[in-house]
């Protein structure tokens, strides 16, 4: 059954049940992916998926339900379940739907072509060929993938909101495995865009060199020292602790930033933006998961917490406007508050000057185990790391299998310098663009 037919059936079922205020969210995605191991095709996946979420307000509460099965029976079940769920809810905050007639921002879409299986196979093959000659330590155990993905989102509600958004992403993934004969190491790189326009040779060299640099790396020495987080490491830190910027988490007492709007929470050189239209991120949004217009905003301005991120319900409770941060990654995800692309504004120092200011310490470019070793509520972290020692203002020996420990909220206040270039390590939502960040001191646990 097509969405437009299902929509009619749901409207009928809602009408029969006496529900006047409701919303339907439909998301569909078609993707094709080719996987290769050492240049030989091992996997091919063509998926066609999608589903519908229904929400209704009953007794002041927002009930919801979703389904992948679009049938007459499910249309009725969806309405019945959402009503039952609304009547079960007890939270005090009032629920709202977005009102129609809002002005939505202009945003240039990143258009990428729909690729054929042959084009995908060629892209994955070319990526493997590029890896083969990328580095002297490269092995014949590299894998590559090429993917093309088209998605469509529609959101309609009884308040006159009727929105849709199409997007497409093509990407090539290069998985390099290097070896020095005694140990292996791996790393990967994602390049988004029409494969014909991508420089896969350069990407292969970059990822292989990154993996090879850590071969034979020693464990870092235990101690307290200055730490530089490379943009790739900041990606993990900012996304993990972004939960603290959610007004919903603050409401629940699950954010250390609760009640801190207007206060200094970071070093004065820290300015953090949330940008739904960040040019380098092919995934952009002009409306959020509730249908409110999205907007750029400064979360932290010169160290001061300017605003938390809000949806309609939390904004109403706080007497504010929504910041357009109600997120829905798909029809089966609950509406939650998330940033789009978090952009940490760059500073003034070149990378060399940043290293010089660090003097001696550790440069960390890889962090692992974010879901285990970081507590987004308290801010405490103890994370598996790898990177390089910094000695006399220069990156020297590679180090790995150590941990860096501290507290994110303390760390924000102890940022002493930022490099002058923001790097965007990985596409998607949410995402991060960050310079390299020098922190006064953190604990390293190694040998």
């Amino acid at each position: 059954m097509e969405f437009k037919d299902f929509k009619t059936l749901v409207a009928e079922a809602a009408g029969k049940a006496g529900i006047g205020d409701y919303e339907l969210y439909y998301a569909s995605e078609e993707s094709t992916e080719v996987e290769m191991f050492n240049g030989e095709t091992t996997g091919f996946t063509a998926s066609l998926t999608g589903g519908v979420a229904f929400r209704c307000i009953l007794s002041g509460h927002m009930g919801s339900a979703y389904t992948q099965e679009l049938s007459g029976e499910q249309a009725e079940s969806l309405v019945r379940r959402a009503m039952d769920n609304a009547l079960t809810l007890e939270k005090e905050e009032e629920a709202f739907f977005a009102e129609g007639g809002a002005a939505y921002p202009e945003c240039e879409r990143t258009e990428m072509p729909v690729l054929t299986p042959e084009q995908l196979t060629r892209a994955a093959f070319d990526a493997n060929e590029a890896l083969k000659v990328s580095h002297e330590k490269i092995t014949d155990r590299c894998s590559t993938q090429a993917v093309t993905q088209q998605s469509k989102t529609c959101l309609v509600n009884s308040r006159g909101v009727d929105l849709s958004w199409n997007s497409s992403v093509d990407a090539v993934i290069l998985g390099a495995v290097v070896s020095d004969g005694t140990e292996d190491n791996d790393d990967f790189e994602i390049k988004a865009g029409d494969p014909d326009s991508l420089d896969l040779k350069e990407a292969a060299k970059k990822v292989a060199a990154r993996a090879a640099a850590k071969l034979g790396a020693d464990v870092a020495p235990t101690g307290v020292c200055p730490v530089i987080f490379a943009p790739e490491a900041m990606y993990n830190l900012l996304l993990t602790f972004a939960a603290a910027f959610s007004a919903e988490n603050a409401r629940k007492g699950l954010s250390a930033l609760q009640g801190k709007e207007g206060e200094v929470i970071a070093s004065e050189i820290v300015t953090l933006l949330d940008d739904p239209f960040y040019p380098e991120n092919p995934v952009k949004r002009i409306f959020d998961g509730e249908g409110s217009p999205t907007a750029r905003k400064e979360i932290i301005s010169g160290g001061v917490l300017n605003t938390l991120l809000y949806d309609l319900s939390t904004a109403h409770a706080a007497g504010k406007q929504t910041t357009g941060n109600a997120s829905r990654s798909s029809y089966d995800s609950p509406v939650s508050i998330q940033p789009y692309t978090l952009v940490l504004a760059p500073g003034r120092l070149t990378e060399e000057e940043l290293l010089a200011q660090c003097g001696s310490g550790v440069w960390i470019d890889t962090l692992g185990g974010m879901h285990a070793g970081a507590n987004p509520i308290s801010g405490d972290f103890s994370l598996q790391s790898s990177g390089f020692l910094v000695e006399n203002g220069e990156k020297t020996a590679a180090v790995r299998s150590f941990t860096v420990s501290g507290n994110f909220f303390d760390m924000l206040k102890n940022i002493t310098a930022l490099s002058d270039k923001a790097v965007f390590p990985r596409l998607g939502l949410p995402a991060v663009a960050s310079p390299a960040v020098l922190v006064k001191e953190l604990t390293i646990s190694g040998k």
Partner: protein, 461 residues
């Protein structure tokens, strides 16, 4: 679900271009969860997952196509898409399907997807209240009641058509306590089983779940930071088994071993762990969280001895990766849903009982850490580098458990660490978790008795 005749037609379409194996995996599942915050029902997620995947193999190539259209035409389109992606060729297999019935080793008495919300809410409320009542320092409690009712059908060109109904129920409570230095500490407890609402009759006391989460939060609220460095560590039973799951389990999955991307590739028959270590992956434990009657390729699950007295005995293998390895499936193929390509994964993975007394393990440590409860972790199987978090830790001095410490994670390389397991206790216990990898998020158990790792990097401060 889909009749035998239609399954046969779909498989015929799937092998029409020369595939040497084809499979249908169809699913209709109900996923439900209720969350409570501050003693009030805060959110409910309620959904139906419905669709099918057709997979075909030819030699070492695999093609999968998925659809949410379960009509005969939709399924045939999906099968033809998979066949076309394999290239041009002629059908070489004839399809004869026989219905296969597997013994249900996970009986369920009260199907949770049929229970009204209010019954689940009451259980959840009891659990959350248990946490509040434990100690006045508990300032916030969140809880979730989660149940899944997965109905699947698998049919393949080996002639099997089988269905299963996989039901699981879980409750999770997280308690927050104000720490003595002004921060917040958390504790959590989240038991689950392949059972229905009867889980809360004898197996799980909801109030005790809340109390345990609160106890952990309160202990940690009084803890100072764990020191940093390399030291001996005793790891408690139950979720402590996450060390084996991360440091070794993932690296024994065919998805990395078949491609030579594991520290343990090519090491069958070799000593890879301390000699007191015997480890299992057992998908047959009745009603256990990680158990299945048969895996997601239709192979019955079994009790696999992975390591016996330190010697590597077998890997965990699915059909497709088994082709590359020249080894049969061990009943280890799993996927979150039809939307994920299945691969070799763990079920209930644990270190078996050893010869040592817990008291002797603690007494053997002059200066180290006792990790009484563990959090999650992760691993890179290629390098073996892993990490996992200590949720409840205590310093050990002169063979005695001393003050609690917080904020520690343990890191190292799997091959070093499992070799360093030199004492194994007798109090084997399993604990439930969700494991994420390429084929999605799946329920698994970890487990062990108390063990000692003679030397490991402790990330404190």
């Amino acid at each position: 679900m889909i009749s035998r005749e239609i399954c046969a037609k779909i498989l015929e379409a799937a092998v029409s271009t020369g595939a040497d194996y084809a499979e249908i995996f169809a699913e209709n599942s109900k996923n439900h969860s209720i969350s409570m915050v501050s003693g009030k029902v805060d959110s409910i997620s309620d959904g139906v997952v419905s669709g099918a995947a057709v997979r075909v193999y030819k030699g070492l190539r695999s093609v999968m196509a998925t659809t949410v259209d379960l009509s005969q035409e939709g399924l045939l389109r999906c099968a033809k898409k998979a066949a076309a992606a394999l290239g041009e060729g002629k059908a070489e297999l004839s399809i004869v399907l026989r219905d296969r019935l597997y013994t249900n080793i996970h009986p369920v008495r009260v199907v949770p997807s049929s229970a009204p919300n209010r019954e689940k809410v009451e259980i959840l409320r009891t659990a959350c209240q248990g946490a509040y009542d434990y100690d006045k320092r508990i300032r916030q409690v969140t809880g979730t009641f989660l149940d899944v009712d997965q109905n699947i059908l698998i049919a393949n060109t080996e002639g099997i058509r089988a269905t299963d109904r996989r039901i699981r129920t879980r409750i999770a409570v997280t308690a927050l306590a104000d720490a003595k230095d002004g921060g917040t500490q958390t504790g959590s407890c989240s038991p689950g089983r392949r059972m229905g609402m009867e889980l809360f009759e004898k197996e799980v006391d909801a109030e005790a779940v809340g109390r345990e989460a609160a106890r952990q939060a309160v202990v940690m609220s009084e803890a100072g930071y764990c020191p940093a460095g390399v030291m001996p560590v005793a790891i408690g039973n139950g979720f402590g088994g996450v060390i084996f799951h991360e440091a070794c389990g993932h690296s024994l999955e065919a998805s990395s071993v078949a491609f030579g991307l594991s520290q343990f590739a090519g090491k069958l028959g070799e000593k890879i762990a301390g000699e007191k270590v015997t480890a299992y992956d057992d998908g047959t434990i009745p009603n256990a969280w990680g158990s299945l009657n048969f895996d997601d390729e239709g192979t019955p699950t079994r009790r696999n001895v992975l390591i016996e007295n330190g010697v590597l005995k077998t890997y965990m293998i699915d059909k497709f990766n088994g082709r590359r390895m020249g080894l049969p499936s061990t009943g280890s193929s799993r996927r979150e849903s039809f939307e994920y390509t299945p691969t070799s994964r763990m079920t209930n993975t644990f270190i078996g009982e050893g010869p040592d007394e817990n008291e002797a393990i603690i007494a053997s440590i002059d200066n180290g850490l006792y990790a009484a409860a563990m959090g999650g972790g992760s691993v890179n199987p290629t390098t073996g580098e892993f990490n996992f978090a200590v949720r409840e830790g205590y310093l050990v001095r002169n063979g005695k458990i001393c003050e609690p410490v917080r904020g520690a994670s343990l890191v190292g390389r799997g091959s070093d660490v499992i070799m360093n397991i030199d004492m194994v206790g007798k109090d084997l216990l399993l604990a439930e978790g969700m494991c994420g990898a390429s084929s999605g998020s799946i329920p698994t158990c970890v487990g062990q008795p108390m063990i000692r790792v003679s030397s490991i990097t402790v990330g404190g401060r």
